[in-house]
Amino acid sequence: MNIDLLLYIVLFSQIMFLSYYYPRRMLIRIHTIFKNYPPNEFPKLYPESIDKYKKLAKRYQIMNHLIIVLGFGLIMWFYVTPRTGEWDQVIVFWYFMIQFIPNMGIELWSRNTHKTMRLLNQDAQKEAALQPRRLTDFVSKEFLGTVFAIYVIFLGFNVYINQFNYSWYGGYLNVLIISGFYLFCGLIIYKALYGKVKNPHQSYEDRKIDIQTIIRQILSIVIAVTLYAMLQILMKASGLESFKAISVSLYFHVIGFLSMQWPHLAFINFDVYKDKPGLTK
């Protein structure tokens, strides 16, 4: 199959997966919450007017539609423009960054909502579990072992590649970058485990589920990034650079899939958002 045709197919898939399917799932989730947990019964869930949240959801939808149009325009541009392929990977990467913007908006929306919840929370009582939280409470030792093993393989891989003295090879700078990324992800995990309570109404059981989801997602992304870094070096060494744009697009599919592991709404305790304490799980 022609490499360009493959790129168009994979890029089309990236557009539809990350700017159509993913936002559609997100919006279904948001509208289900609006419908099943309305403000009159669950006032603490809506620190501001529900109309504001509906507008934000609409804005999210429109942004993704515009990004889909941009993506189709990008494919057309790839088709009609004579290219050498060197910049394809960069363009695909920056298109993904644009696709990511509406989801950053959702994250900011969530943080602002929690902040407003904290400001409005007049509950004088606070509760906490008297057990220490440990990383192994949320993720298996085997999973952690896998992450460590992949890091060691990455180190060994760089030592192996270094002996060929490729002019383009960044050497141990790759190790520094990946190690820095591991540290950064470690900080995110640490903050998830021991950081401040974001949602003052969330039950402790739901918070534990959130912590587990975050940790598993981060560790999966760490594995994906490390494997992808090795793949990129291998492709360059093997003269398969023409496939780089395709591989980066497929990599973003993986990242998108890993980001979609949300807890099912049926398992979340929404009673905590009622005015009076309801039954807890």
Partner: protein, 124 residues
């Protein structure tokens, strides 16, 4: 086991923490050797200042209800059950009462006792 603090009560927050941990020990909900969350974890979960939790832990350690072993964290002391029933304030009040009674019997006035107490507190 959960701990609940109430900022609307007149009792200081660190006292509420201390009392609940001591009550949990005497009720058998916390046993010698059980580990407690770190100061950071508990402070963030209860949305308290770290110093409040640190003070509670410090006083519990003074009373030998908990013990801290560096990186291994904080755990319930081996003698926590009997130590949890000891009330430091009651103990201080009893000793002070005996001392004041003895000083009065030896002829010291309340004013002299108060001045001497204040000087001793300043110098120590």
């Amino acid at each position: 086991m959960k701990i609940i603090i109430d900022s609307s009560l007149s009792s200081p927050l660190f006292k509420q923490l201390m009392n609940q941990i001591k009550n949990a020990v005497t009720a058998g909900l916390l046993k010698p050797g059980d580990t407690l969350p770190s100061i950071r974890q508990l402070a963030n979960d209860l949305e308290l200042n770290h110093n409040t939790v640190a003070k509670a832990y410090q006083l519990l350690e003074r009373d030998s209800v908990i013990q801290t072993k560096g990186y291994r964290g904080t755990s319930i002391h081996g003698d926590a059950i009997q130590n949890s029933t000891v009330n430091m304030n009651d103990s201080i009040t009893t000793k002070l009462s005996e001392t004041i009674k003895s000083l009065r019997e030896s002829g010291a006035t309340d004013s002299e006792i108060r001045i001497a107490f204040s000087n001793v507190m300043k110098n120590q």
